[in-house]
């Protein structure tokens, strides 16, 4: 007996909100990508919890695909940031203000 399913979902929601804060408030492109990682992590917590709750393995399969998609996204995103840094000399998303 672990905890009720709602507690897993609340944990996932809190972590997701932290990721949103990191993605929208921090003034750094790398922090935005890290915020996306935190949000994907929260989603996979919800999927694995749901997999245990409904006794279906689909949730774990989805968490695996989330990990793969996150790895692909990070590699392309960081290559883009290197391009941005070469072009503008900074990683500040609000540089035009």
């Amino acid at each position: 007996m672990i905890v009720p399913f709602s507690h897993v979902m609340i944990l996932s929601g809190i972590v997701f909100l932290m990721g949103v804060f990191c993605a929208v408030a921090r003034r750094n492109l790398i922090m935005i990508l890290l915020g996306l990682e935190i949000m994907l992590n929260a989603a996979s917590i919800a999927f694995v919890g749901g997999s245990l709750h409904f006794h279906l393995m689909e949730g774990q399969v989805f968490a695996l695909f989330i990990i793969a998609a996150a790895a692909a996204e990070v590699s392309v995103g960081l290559a883009l940031f290197v391009c941005v840094y070469r072009r503008t000399g900074s990683l500040d998303p609000g540089i035009g203000e």
Binding site: M1, I2, V3, P4, F5, S6, H7, M9, L11, G13, I14, V15, L17, M18, G19, V20, F21, C22, V24, A25, R26, R27, N28, I30, M31, L33, L34, G35, E37, I38, N41, S44, I45, V48, G49, S51, L52, M57, Q60, V61, A63, L64, F65, I67, A68, A69, A71, A72, E73, V74, S75, V76, L78, A79, L80, F81, V82, C83, R86, G94
Partner: protein
């Protein structure tokens, strides 16, 4: 409260505290280190929720490969922290408030479900069961994901190389 519940709450506290510290640091290297702790906590949570293979993959891919990639880029670009590390409140609070509202609404949608208060039973999907299930039912998706990773590799290579090759072709 069983032992599993105590472990769950400890892991939840570890994840929330380390993520909360991570998103407020100014030094990017510290951010990455705290996020590694957070992902380790998530991996242990996956093990608790009966997914040992995913726990291993979380440690290997997320806490290992992805975070080390971030660390490489941070140290390669030598980004100096800007004097203002956050946007002004008026810019990001509406977006964050909308997102918080939708998360709360999503949690409220869960309340009418009947067996929500029942504690989760422990179960485990052994790695061999999981692998058989994955390749029996989702083999096409596995192939698509492998193509996605290949495309990401080619795209990252192209993005990283394009500036150099343009410079070598055009000496002016």
């Amino acid at each position: 409260m069983t032992l599993y519940a105590i472990i769950f709450y400890l892991l939840a506290a570890l994840i929330i505290i380390s993520t909360g510290i991570a998103i407020t640091r100014r030094n990017m290297v510290h951010v990455v280190i705290y996020l590694v702790f957070s992902f380790f906590g998530t991996a242990m949570l996956f093990y608790l929720l009966g997914a040992p293979l995913l726990a291993l993959l979380q440690i290997i891919i997320y806490a290992g490969a992805v975070m080390v990639l971030f660390l490489f880029i941070i140290m390669m670009l030598r980004v100096e922290a800007p004097e203002i590390s956050m946007f002004p409140f008026s810019q990001w609070v509406p977006a964050a408030a909308l997102c918080a509202a939708s998360v709360v609404l999503g949690l409220l949608l869960l309340i009418p479900e009947s067996q929500l208060g029942k504690p989760l039973e422990t179960a485990i999907a052994t790695p061999s069961d999981f692998g058989f299930y994955l390749f029996k039912r989702h083999w096409l998706t596995i192939e698509l994901v492998s193509i996605l990773l290949l495309v990401a590799l080619v795209g990252a290579f192209h993005l990283g190389k394009s500036k150099l090759s343009a410079k070598s072709e055009d000496p002016s």
